[in-house]
Amino acid sequence: MSCEKMEKRLHDYVDGILPAAERAEIERHLETCSNCRDEMEFLDSLRRQVAALPPSLEPPRDLWPEIANRLGPKRNLWQVWLAQLRARKNGAVSQWKNFIAVAERRFAWGMRGAVAVATLVFVIGGVWFLMQTRQATWQVARLAGAPQIGSQRLVANGQLQVGEWLETDDSSRAQISVGMIGHVELAPQTRIRLLNTRLTDHRLSLARGKIHAEIWAPPRIFFVETASALATDLGCEYTLEMRDDGFGRLHVTRGYVALENKEGPESVVPAGAFCDIRPGMRPGTPYSENASDSLRAALAQFDFANGGSTAIATILAEAREADSFTLFHLLFRAVPAERGRVYDRMIEFVSPPPGVTRAGVLQGDKRMLEAWADKFGLGKSWWRYWLPL
């Protein structure tokens, strides 16, 4: 390479922007070329001289008085923006960049303002919600007859405190306001107790009778304990009826309710479905309001009387499309040898989600099971509580 071409690259070499391979080439060239070595020496010398330049140079006179005379009232951002706009019209490229930068900042400030306002509203709303829902007592309204809080007969409205019992007789009914998240109506012959009013845990105990709950809080905030199972609200409306002996039934009319106890897997009951409860046994398999009597009977056999394979055969024979949800629950309750035919019957009514295989499901592939849960509109977040069991 000629020295003329090499000289241009020498500058890049000195500036440290030359690739390593080319640097080596330059260094080899420098060993043999005195002209280029001379140029290098100059560049080194220039670097030293530049480094020795004073960073500051005092102006010959004090400029402040003139500057102070030119300082107007401090501009707000809008004025700066307009000034930048005028500067842009003069064709200054750098001013245009400043204009963009200022506009971006203005936008960012606007966004920040919006975020601040939204945060404020959220915080105030949250505090208000907290205050409302953290009431240690819940309002009780008499709907009929003479409900009783503890030993006090309720004439009109009353307060139910944590630990107190509310009871209706043959002819009375009452309604509880569950903080700000819903209400619960007590049918005649019902006995409940308020257990908790914490923000994330609104809890009643249903000893006997029938309640109708309508809750609009996020899932898993409202709970009803019974002698045989815990009913967890997943955003819904439902009726729960319990007898003194621990037998009961859940009927969901909107949303979902989870039923669980220590005996076995959770049942997730969708709208339009029932779920039976027995003392000392896992919650029953949910079934449709439209399920045949034979199917209901077979399910009762399967869930509570060790019906096994005979009961499953009846369930599968009786199942219709509306019962596919029941079959999905059954898939995880049947013994492994039965699961194949349960699955085969289920996919006669509902086609599998994309990517889901029979073998994968039968092996308990979580992703595939969750895909099925999604297919039934159950979502994943709460269904996974059920899957490992």
Partner: protein
């Protein structure tokens, strides 16, 4: 890049110290309209700003005028400083922007005159302030053509990269490189004369 690593480190250290000690408090006061605080900012930084203006413009009167422009603009825009960099970095970058705008404005005026008078496009009416021991280099820099001088000052003295210079000056990166080579070559001729 001719600014040595140690010199660059000193500049960085100086900026960090500025930021970490007195400048941010003063900036906050100035942002609230405190002129006394802004005067102190001026006192602390005028030498550095004037050096940038003088080296790029090579004319003391115009450098003084540009220095005033820089601080007036800084006062107007100080509300937009959010502390994302050292304040001194923000101010010196503003100074470079202002002085380049003034340089281009002067070039446009000169270009119009050239049509009829064929005067030298380069203002060599140096009224330089003696910078001390580096006077030869300062004089040689002042004698450079304007664009080459601006690129040399920004690259070798102020430590800007070619892509930054290209953006600031509205030229191609290759032009910035070519002007730097030209400047260094002319400086060699001048310094070895």
């Amino acid at each position: 890049m001719l600014l040595t690593e140690s010199a660059r480190a000193e500049v960085v250290l100086e900026r960090v110290q500025d930021s970490a000690t007195m400048i941010p408090g003063l900036v906050r006061q100035a942002q609230n309209g405190d002129r006394a605080a802004f005067e102190q900012i001026y006192r602390e930084n005028v030498g550095r700003v004037y050096a940038i203006c003088l080296r790029i413009l090579a004319n003391s009167a115009r450098a003084q005028e540009s220095t005033q422009d820089v601080f007036v603009r800084a006062w107007e825009m100080i509300g937009t400083f959010r502390g994302e960099s050292a304040f001194s970095s923000w101010l010196y970058r503003l100074a470079v922007n202002v002085v380049l705008v003034n340089l281009r404005a002067k070039q446009r005026r000169t270009a119009r005159v050239l049509v009829t008078n064929d005067l030298s496009p380069y203002d060599r009416n140096e009224n330089m302030i003696n910078p001390g021991s580096a006077i030869d280099l300062e004089r040689a820099m002042a004698a450079l053509p304007e664009q080459a001088r601006a690129v040399f000052v920004l690259h070798d003295v102020e430590g800007y990269r070619h892509d930054e210079i290209a953006t600031l000056m509205g030229v191609a990166t290759g032009t910035s490189k070519a002007q730097l080579h030209r400047a260094r070559k002319l400086l060699r001729e001048a310094l070895e004369r």
